[in-house]
């Protein structure tokens, strides 16, 4: 396997975010090509490529587009999910900072394919730097005749609105995002109807992740076969892997799907000096953790699923032996408690309860029998909550218990900070552990 810079290929250009720079490297050529195709042909190419959503769920993108009813007389909308907030995920925001035009081009092509004349980029509010770059990219594209009325003489109109969120992880859930974009509380909607039929303003809507859309121009330009020449049959193409944690060179590594973690870790310079991988999470806090034993598993949807976890956002978090699993899990649960929207009982009350008990463990005050209680409570959330946030919240603890039950038992006596001194876990001393 190898690194395959496509999206990141020109991020080292000092003006990588400007339209001239983007065009210099072949930007917006795919758009011209797409506009000469019929919308259904564009959907066909994306379908053929096997591109799967990069936001976490991995749903085939072309299929999602094809669900939008045609000739229904209603306006269609494309909504970009740029609400990247999953703990561990950090690839969409850098992409929008470094190369917003790849997203804009993807949006125009996708909108053309699904016959949408309005697109919205919903960016979490905490990243003004990315918002500025995207707003600027939209303005540049408008000035260049790539957005607006009759784009490139094709007769296709598109207007993009850049919309900032205001701090709510749940808005990454596509129906919550739509409610939020409609100026409401970001609580998930009852499905059906699905967004493809009744999404934004009750009209057919496609919600796509940033990386997904940014991947589209290269597929349209180079063809489905080119895309499929990377990755595996079920997980074709390239992917931004953002590797974080106790590694020497944390960052974004664009590689073919199927690249094993061991290889990515090598690109990331290995674990920091004196450090040993203790556990890792392949794709955000919502997916179960793995151990060094799993490090050679190909990073694909199917292989990780077979290993009992998920590719998720494809942003591995690597933790070494200095890390308190108890503390890590507690923080994630505090996060889910903070971000639970409150709509459904299991998630709202369950995260409140589990977090309260876990905090005792973090301080060395848990009771042994409470481990079974937390596990049971997780079981009462998983599969019973309204949306996937509940399932996600019910994930870290059972998965940590699978490998580190002893550590939780120790936390009935010793605090996390005593067992695992923060001074060793922090990376302030760049020399290593």
């Amino acid at each position: 396997m190898a690194l395959t810079p496509v999206l990141t290929a020109h991020w080292d250009d000092p003006k990588s975010f400007e339209i001239e720079s983007y065009k210099k490297y072949g930007g917006y050529v795919a758009l011209k090509k797409a506009l000469k195709m019929t919308p259904d042909e564009v959907i066909g190419v994306v379908k053929d490529s096997g591109l799967r959503g990069r936001g976490g769920a991995g749903f085939p993108t072309g299929m999602k587009w094809s669900f939008v009813p045609q000739n229904d007389g209603k306006p269609h909308y494309l909504v970009v999910n740029a609400d990247e907030s999953e703990p561990g995920a950090c690839k969409d925001i850098p992409l929008m900072l470094a190369n917003p035009h790849s997203l804009i081009e993807g949006i125009i092509i996708a909108s053309y394919a699904i016959r949408a004349n309005h697109a919205f980029i919903y960016i979490r509010g905490e990243v003004p730097h990315a918002i500025r770059r995207v707003m600027n990219a939209v303005e540049q594209a408008v000035a260049d005749g790539l957005l607006g009325k009759n784009i490139q003489g094709s007769g296709f109109d598109l207007n993009i609105v850049v919309h900032a969120g205001a701090g709510a992880y749940i808005c990454g859930e596509e129906t919550a995002l739509l409610d939020s974009l409609e100026g409401r509380r970001g609580q998930p909607r009852l499905k059906p109807p699905f967004p493809a039929v009744a999404g934004l303003y009750a009209s057919p809507t496609v919600v796509n992740n940033v990386e997904t859309l940014a991947s589209v121009p290269s597929i349209v330009l180079n063809g489905a076969d080119w895309f499929k020449s990377m990755g595996t049959e079920k997980s074709p193409g390239f992917k931004l892997f953002a590797v974080s944690g106790h590694v020497n060179r944390p960052g974004i590594f664009e590689a073919a799907l199927g690249t094993p973690m061991s290889e990515l870790l090598d690109y990331a310079g290995g674990m920091r000096k004196g450090s040993k991988l203790k556990f890792w999470i392949p794709g955000g806090s919502s997916v179960p953790m793995l151990t060094p034993d799993h490090i050679d598993i190909p990073m694909t949807y199917e292989d990780l699923s077979a290993a009992g976890t998920m590719l998720g956002t494809g942003t591995p978090m690597m933790f070494d032996q200095t890390t308190s699993v108890v503390k890590a899990v507690t923080r994630w649960l505090e996060f889910y408690k903070h971000e639970s929207c409150g709509k459904c009982t299991p998630c709202r009350e369950g995260t409140f309860w589990i977090t309260g008990v876990l905090e005792k463990f973090e301080h060395g005050k848990g009771k042994e029998e409470e481990l079974a209680l937390i596990d049971d409570v997780c079981g009462q959330i998983a599969g019973r909550s309204f949306c996937a946030l509940g399932d996600a919240a019910a994930t870290p603890f059972p998965s940590a218990m699978k490998y580190f039950a002893d550590e939780f038992r120790e936390a009935t006596r010793i605090s996390a900070d005593a067992s695992f001194p923060p001074s060793a876990t922090t990376i302030f001393d760049k020399a290593g552990v």
């Binding site: 990141t8 290929a9 000092p14 925001i93 850049v162 900032a164 100026g183 974080s244 690109y267 990376i427």
Partner: protein, 220 residues
Amino acid sequence: MSIKVISEEDIKTLETLAAKYPERRSALLPMLHYVQSIQGMVSPAGIQVCAQVLDLTPAEVAAVATFYTMYKRFPMGKHHIGVCTNTMCALLGGDELWKELTNTLGIGHDETTADGLFTLERIECQAACTVAPVVTVNWEFMDSMNPKSLRELIDKLKLGAPVQSTRGIKITSIAETGKVLAGINDGKYEESPLADDSMLAGLRVAQERKMKAPAAKGAQ
């Protein structure tokens, strides 16, 4: 702290925000960002104004304003300082930075210093784990912080000395950020520094090891 009144001019701005969307209510989040940028908080008056512009009840607006963490019901200081204490940042140093900061400033979560300069918040994951631990100033990132760089940051902000965000702009104030979030482009997109090491990590390895994505059939 006296709170600025929302002016007729501001209401006109709110109207233009509402006009950007096929359905006006979609502008509520940007509008709340805007009234917060004027008043340093989402006040009952701010809620009332948004309700009037969008023909909603104040309760409907309050329901939205209280749902999102970034809207504050208390007046913020000039700078909003966020410390990420979600797992990755916390472990890699965020917890220590938080301790440092609360000690230095003498305030806790969602509190403001007496001089009105800083409001402190424990924040959730900022999607910047590769540059953990992260501190934000007015939501502009300060990457890979340590106690020393944090102390320097605070000292500079106290003195009003220039501070450059590692991903964003030269620090101004939380009020200015609010306007950008409202959708008003401040044109400062070039102020962000070049892509950092973490963003270029993979590309550099690829360049070093001469790795490339496969060429397209028929491509040169």
